[in-house]
């Protein structure tokens, strides 16, 4: 347990071990607690005495923890029954079990934040403290969120078929939270999506994995050393992670070949076109607009329409982009920022500067606010100079 790699390998065993306990008759909430305790013990013990069979070790220890917990008199009879019928650790159908856990943790009865927290703990094997730090909330708050979530799904049968779309939404949320504290949520989301892709053959799972890999490949170039945002067009493309891009593109192509297009595949296709352009000027904006049209057919969201207006501005000129923008609701997030950008490209610097300053006041993150303020300052300085 000395390296991050080891910890990831340990945590990858979590869903399988948890599923074994549930199949042996432990209720989900108690089994989940027991697996957490076993993980903590593994971190402590393995560096000194590495187990020959890590999965078997975890199952044995987690099962013992579970039995210890159910030692209360009221639970004794049930425990004795369970001990009598304890099966060997034997081979489990880990693919299906893993999948069932994803479904359970993303169950539609859970709020998005609860589903995220439960997935990170029960499937991801993160501790409550790690999840709390990543989301910048007190540990006690996160502990409550997780135990409430477990109570909510306690009546759900483990073998019920679930909806892949709800799982993908949860993983997408985790990925977008990015990086704060000592847990890299984007990397964790990729790991969990990869694990899901191994458990189920589904083009949208592949599409989401490709989308994540393609965005993750650009991460190092997205912020300057001083913490400020670097827009796509100004990123140092030489520092994009080519291995991650190649993997994302290959996964996407295989998914698209199956001809069951979905929202994530279309988004990944757009990301792939950006990744593919050697310079910002060589971006194939015409094809990107086509993918946005495709995306609109799949999901008519205002955010997609806004992004499409940007792409139209690149493909057909800023006037066309402004015309597309004029059809949209002006109160949409980032609407003003997009308008500022298109006016700047159209040569109307005074309007652009005013709109950038206005967009800064409406920004939803500090980095975005500072970036937009800087854009306004840049144009104002040019106006003075």
């Amino acid at each position: 347990m000395t390296s991050v790699m080891d910890e990831a390998r340990l945590r990858s065993l979590t869903p399988n071990v948890l599923a074994v306990l549930v199949r042996r008759g432990a209720d989900f909430a108690a089994a989940e607690d027991a697996v957490q305790e076993a993980l903590v013990e593994a971190v402590r013990v393995w560096p000194i005495t590495p187990p020959r069979d890590p999965r078997g070790w975890l199952i044995t220890v987690a099962w013992r923890k579970f039995l210890d917990e159910t030692r209360a008199d009221t639970a004794r009879r049930r425990r004795e029954h369970l001990v009598d019928h304890e099966p060997g650790p034997g081979p489990a159908t880990s693919r299906d079990d893993t999948l069932q856990l994803y479904f359970l943790c993303a169950h539609p009865s859970l709020t998005p934040s609860s589903a995220v927290a439960l997935t990170l703990r029960a499937v991801g094997g993160l501790t409550t403290r790690q999840i709390a730090r990543a989301y910048l909330v007190p540990e006690a708050t996160m502990a409550q969120r997780i135990s409430r979530a477990k109570r909510t799904v306690s009546g759900v049968r483990f073998d019920q078929p679930g909806d892949v779309a709800t799982v993908l939404r949860v993983l997408y949320l985790v990925f977008n939270e990015g990086y704060s504290g000592d847990i890299d949520l984007a990397a964790e989301a990729i790991r969990l999506t990869r694990q899901l892709a191994a458990a189920i053959d589904h083009p949208e799972v592949a599409g989401l994995l490709a989308l994540m890999l393609l965005h993750h490949a650009r991460r190092a170039t997205r912020t300057a050393p001083d913490g400020s945002l670097v827009p796509l067009a100004e990123q140092d493309r030489g520092r994009w992670d080519t291995a991650s891009i190649a993997e994302g593109v290959a996964i996407l192509q295989a998914a698209l070949a199956r001809d069951r297009l979905g929202e994530f595949q279309a988004q990944a296709a757009i990301a792939a076109l950006h990744a593919d352009a050697p310079t910002a000027e060589e971006t194939d904006w015409v094809q990107i607009v086509e993918w946005y049209d495709e995306l609109l057919r799949l999901t008519d969201s205002p955010v997609v329409r806004l992004n499409r207006a940007v792409a139209v501005g690149q493909a057909d000129g800023p006037r066309a982009g402004l015309a597309a923008l004029a059809e949209l609701d002006g109160t949409l997030p980032r609407h003003t920022a997009v308008a500022a950008y298109l006016h700047e490209r159209d040569g109307d610097l005074a309007t652009a500067a005013r709109l950038y300053a206005e967009a800064a006041r409406k920004a939803s993150s500090l980095a975005e606010r500072d970036h937009l303020t800087r854009q306004a300052a840049r144009l104002n300085a040019r106006g003075r100079g």
């Binding site: 001083d226 006041r361 409406k362 939803s364 500090l366 303020t373 800087r374 300052a377 840049r378 300085a381």
Partner: protein
């Protein structure tokens, strides 16, 4: 140790000495300002005096209870609101003098022309805990 809240205002504080809105600075001046703020927080973490720091978006909503079974009433944002908080930093320091010293340092963050803004910051002490030993 005593905790203090350092409040920074979008509006409502007395006018600073170097009073130029940020979008009229140069991009480099903005970067220098941000760097100063970051360095300040980093330094306080190293001295063990930093507790928390957050920034707030300028547009908020007023909300109040409107009676049993009715949805809350919302109002605003009010463009004319006099007092608009931009963000805060919580510090845990040994004395009021130290808190004043740190607030002064933060207020020296560079603005237009690379010169200190001399921005007015509001320094508010937290209520402390009642001492266990009183006699």
């Amino acid at each position: 140790m005593a905790k203090y809240l350092l409040l920074k205002h979008y509006r409502g504080a007395p006018a600073p000495v170097n009073d130029v809105p940020m979008d009229q600075w140069t991009p480099d001046e903005i970067s220098a300002h941000m760097q100063y703020m970051r360095d300040f927080a980093d330094r306080l973490e190293k001295t063990g005096e930093f507790v928390d720091g957050q920034a707030l978006a300028p547009e908020g909503t007023w909300v109040r209870y409107d009676g049993e079974g009715r949805p809350p009433v919302t109002d605003g944002p009010f463009a004319e609101t006099k007092d608009l908080i931009a963000g805060w930093m919580v510090i845990d320091v040994d004395s009021h003098e130290r808190a004043v010293e740190l607030a002064g340092e933060l207020s020296a963050a560079p603005g237009a022309g690379g010169k200190p803004i001399h921005e007015w910051l509001e320094l508010r002490p937290f209520y402390g805990v009642s001492p266990t030993v009183t006699e």
